[in-house]
Amino acid sequence: MRVSQDLVSDVSEVLLTEEQIAAKVVELGQQISADYAGRQLTLVSVLKGSLPFMADLMRSISLPLRIDLMEVSSYGGTTTESSGLVRILKDLSAPIEGRDVLLVEDIIDTGLTLNYLLRYLRGKNPRSIKVCALLDKPARRLVEIPLDYVGFQIPDAFVVGYGLDFGEVYRNLRFVGVLRPEAYES
């Protein structure tokens, strides 16, 4: 993997600018605030990719809320190869039973991770559980799960930035861009 010191130069196209993302996050926050008024909302963010989105989204919601973080192993990761099964690397720190949970995801691609997480979280008996995804990439969707709040539907391209990585790099880009093939083919 070859990473330029100037991360931006590894991006062939800016798909979503910082301003576009910010405006959409505000819009989502307002919608969520209206929908969950008077309810006990818990935002659950899935590390690591959704961290910037979570940080911005929670500040766009005007309601009292709790946040919690989860991390699950990804297929192909070094921590998972011994078992061959997805694992919860970081579980919720507080019970969600009886609460309204909004799962905050950076991107929905195949839907496999989301499918696993929803099954897991439903087992903790929340009052309700919905999904908020910044990016929806439906081209390779295997598990059709209704997404309650979606920022942008994006084309079939390998995107990085605003939390999204390739090999743990590029998460700190302030925009979402398409990674140059040279960056992952080398």
Binding site: S74, Y75, G76, G77, T80, E81, S82, S83, G84, L85, V86, D109, T110, L112, T113, N115, Y116, A139, R140, R141, L142, V143, E144, D156, F158, F166, G167, Y184, E185
Partner: protein, 198 residues
């Protein structure tokens, strides 16, 4: 693969026709999605007497999702025949949900999971694997010309059955780790080590 040639890529100990299928099964196992491998054959062409001329057996069925998945790791320009079959399948069986995963999709999946280096080994003709299971008839590599059924009619998988009545026939019913937990028969998805769920 010719006699004496060393196998390339992962060597699944399960009779997948192609290494990409074994990898795909490992991904499904990882995320605990139940799967069956080539469980059904769908006739897609008949002669005037009602005999099946052509059939199609999608690679995977995901029962919980009620979705068939067909993988092809051939180059895009070579998948016209596969596209035609999937189109025909959708026309004849409108209630059936099937997803065609092209080479570019498989490549993107591998890239997403940090396994881009494996793509060439798992794709196209390099990804062909030989089958050794006694209960498995010889099977064709994914994407090659369809082989023939007992009547010499083309089938998209050599190990797939066909029916003159036009009904789909269960052929192989290999079930995933998730299925085994529910009392079903488990198949090994490939060469990755497997540990019990904890």
């Amino acid at each position: 693969m010719t006699d004496g040639e060393a196998p390339r890529g992962p060597r699944p100990d399960h009779a997948f026709a192609h290494a990409s299928e074994a990898e795909f099964a490992r991904i499904l196992d990882f995320y605990q999605v139940e799967w069956e491998y080539e469980p059904q054959v769908f006739p897609i062409l008949w002669d005037l007497d009602g005999n099946v001329l052509e059939s199609f057996a999608p690679d995977f069925f995901l029962p919980e999702l009620e979705l068939f998945v067909e993988l092809t790791t051939l180059q895009q320009r070579l998948v016209r025949k596969k596209n035609r079959k999937v189109r025909r399948l959708r026309e004849l069986y409108p209630g059936l949900r099937i997803k065609l995963f092209y080479a570019r999709d498989f490549r993107a999946l591998m890239l997403k999971y940090g396994r881009a280096a494996l793509v060439s080994e798992l794709s196209g003709t390099l990804g062909q694997v030989m089958t050794h299971e006694e209960d498995t008839e010889p099977s064709a590599p994914a994407g090659l010309e369809p082989e023939s059924d007992v009547n010499g009619h083309p089938i998209d998988r050599a190990d797939a059955g066909s029916s003159a009545s036009g009904e789909s026939i269960p052929v192989h019913r290999r079930r995933s780790r998730a299925a085994r937990r529910h009392g079903g028969r488990r198949s090994n998805a490939g060469s990755a080590p497997v540990s019990p769920v904890t």
